[in-house]
Structure formats: structure tokens, C-alpha cells
């Protein structure tokens, strides 16, 4: 068992945990905007961690540089997609769930 394998396994397990919580949030949270909180953040960081783990596992080559570029693109694109769709919902006057109106979806 090499050191890089251990690092890779740790990164992967962490990212899997984050993916699980993001999915749980997607299922459990009450309305659309709060669900976006779960997916928009959790998936981005989880993807970053798994990409880092794979880059460590693969070693220092051009391919791992490409993997890091995927991470850069994800970090640019994922928040923008989240923002675009939440803005569409906001402009369409989708009512956000609040504690006062609790219970109704």
C-alpha cells in the first residue's frame, strides 16, 4: 500500500461522503432554493476532491494536469449554472419557502 493510494482513498471517501450529503439534501430539503444549496455547493467540492484524488493516484503527468483543468472549468461553470437557474426561478416569482409559512411546499 503506497502513500499515494492512502491519500487517494481518503480523498475519495471524503468526496463520497459529500456526494451523499448533497443527495440527501436534494431529497430532504423543503423547496427549490434550499435544494440548490445542497447540490450547488456539495457537488462542486465533492467533484474537486475526487478529481484531486484521481490526480494524486495517477501521478505527475500531463493527464493529471488535464484533470486539474476539469476542476477549474467545474469551478467556473457550476456556480454559474446554479445562479442562472435560481435567477430564472426568482424572476418567475417562485415563492421561497420560509419558516413562517412552514410545512407547505
Amino acid at each position: 500500500m503506497l502513500v499515494k493510494d492512502v491519500i487517494c482513498i481518503l480523498f475519495m471517501l471524503g468526496s463520497f461522503f459529500l456526494f451523499t450529503t448533497a443527495t440527501l439534501g436534494l431529497l430532504r430539503l423543503p423547496d427549490f432554493f434550499t435544494r440548490l444549496h445542497a447540490t450547488g455547493k456539495g457537488d462542486t467540492l465533492a467533484a474537486l476532491w475526487s478529481l484531486a484524488g484521481l490526480a494524486v493516484y495517477h501521478g505527475f503527468t500531463l493527464t493529471s494536469a488535464k484533470i486539474l483543468f476539469i476542476a477549474v472549468f467545474l469551478f467556473l461553470a457550476q456556480p454559474t449554472a446554479t445562479h442562472a437557474i435560481s435567477r430564472a426561478a426568482f424572476r418567475c416569482k417562485v415563492q421561497p419557502w420560509t419558516l413562517a409559512k412552514g410545512g407547505e411546499k
Binding site: 472549468f73 467556473l76 461553470a77 454559474t80 445562479h83 442562472a84 435567477r87
Partner: protein, 154 residues
């Protein structure tokens, strides 16, 4: 949909992302020999870059780079490149699309000539696919827009 987006974030992000998307598409086209990909996939990604430009920056900004007329001409040129390479092989004394005969024109061995012929064909396919996809997108999204313009004029 053809008008430019009012959103600063989407606009800026697509401004930063479109050149990389286009260079990636060109990479996919040119490196069909060594990695997955080729003319069709690269052409589609190229068209996607232009679509993103239309959606974020509007039709006017895109027309400066690739107008509808140019897209129509490019789609014909793509098919022409493909068929023209085949016909060139026919003229040089081989069968249709037998790229090995291109080595009479180029200073390489026949195997290399076939590789180059494949590259030329891929470029033709990519141009045709890109232009056709972009044209279909524009045609679908402008059909209703012009009707609205008519109504507003009356």
C-alpha cells in the same frame, strides 16, 4: 432567445469560456488520430461554442464572427472538401477516396499520405457539421422572433 442576456454573470462567464471551448473543439478535430473524437464530435462542440455565444451575447455580436450566409457557405465547403479529396484521388489514378495516391502530390510515403487524407476529411466533416448545426439552431430560434417583429411594426 436571440437577444443578448441581461445577466452579468452568464455573460462574463461565457465570454471567458467560449475561446477555450472552440480551441478544445479544434483539438478534438485535429487529434482524432490519437484519441477519441473526430470531425463529427469536434464540429458539434464548435457549434455549441457559437450557440453559447448567441445565447449570452446576442445575435449581433455573433454575426460579426460567423454570419448566417457564411454558415451556409461553410456547410457546402465542408462537403466539397470531402468529395474534392476523393475526386483528387480519382484524378491521381487511384480509386475514389483512396488517399494513398495523394503521396504523388505530397512528399511523404503512402501511409503518411493516408493519415493526412484522413485529417483533411475530418476537417471537411467538422466544417459541414458545425455550419449545419448552427444554421438549424438559428432557423429554429428565429422563426417566431421575426413574427413578433412583424406584429410590432403593424
Amino acid at each position: 432567445m436571440i437577444r443578448d442576456s441581461q445577466d452579468v454573470i452568464v455573460k462574463t462567464l461565457s465570454r471567458l469560456l467560449v475561446p477555450f471551448m472552440v480551441i478544445y473543439a479544434l483539438y478534438v478535430i485535429m487529434h482524432g488520430h490519437h484519441s477519441p473524437g473526430g470531425g463529427f464530435q469536434g464540429g458539434v462542440i464548435l457549434a455549441a461554442g457559437f450557440v453559447l455565444l448567441v445565447v449570452s451575447h446576442g445575435l449581433e455580436q455573433t454575426r460579426k464572427r460567423l454570419s448566417e450566409k457564411a454558415a451556409g457557405v461553410l456547410s457546402s465547403i465542408g462537403v466539397f472538401i470531402y468529395a474534392g479529396i476523393g475526386a483528387l484521388c480519382l484524378i491521381l489514378g487511384g480509386n475514389y477516396l483512396d488517399y494513398g495516391k495523394l503521396s504523388k502530390l505530397l512528399p511523404v510515403v503512402p501511409a503518411e499520405a493516408r493519415s493526412l487524407g484522413i485529417l483533411g476529411v475530418e476537417i471537411g466533416v467538422a466544417l459541414a457539421v458545425m455550419a449545419v448545426m448552427f444554421t438549424i439552431f438559428l432557423v429554429i430560434f428565429t422563426v417566431g422572433e421575426f413574427q413578433e417583429d412583424d406584429r410590432s411594426e403593424k
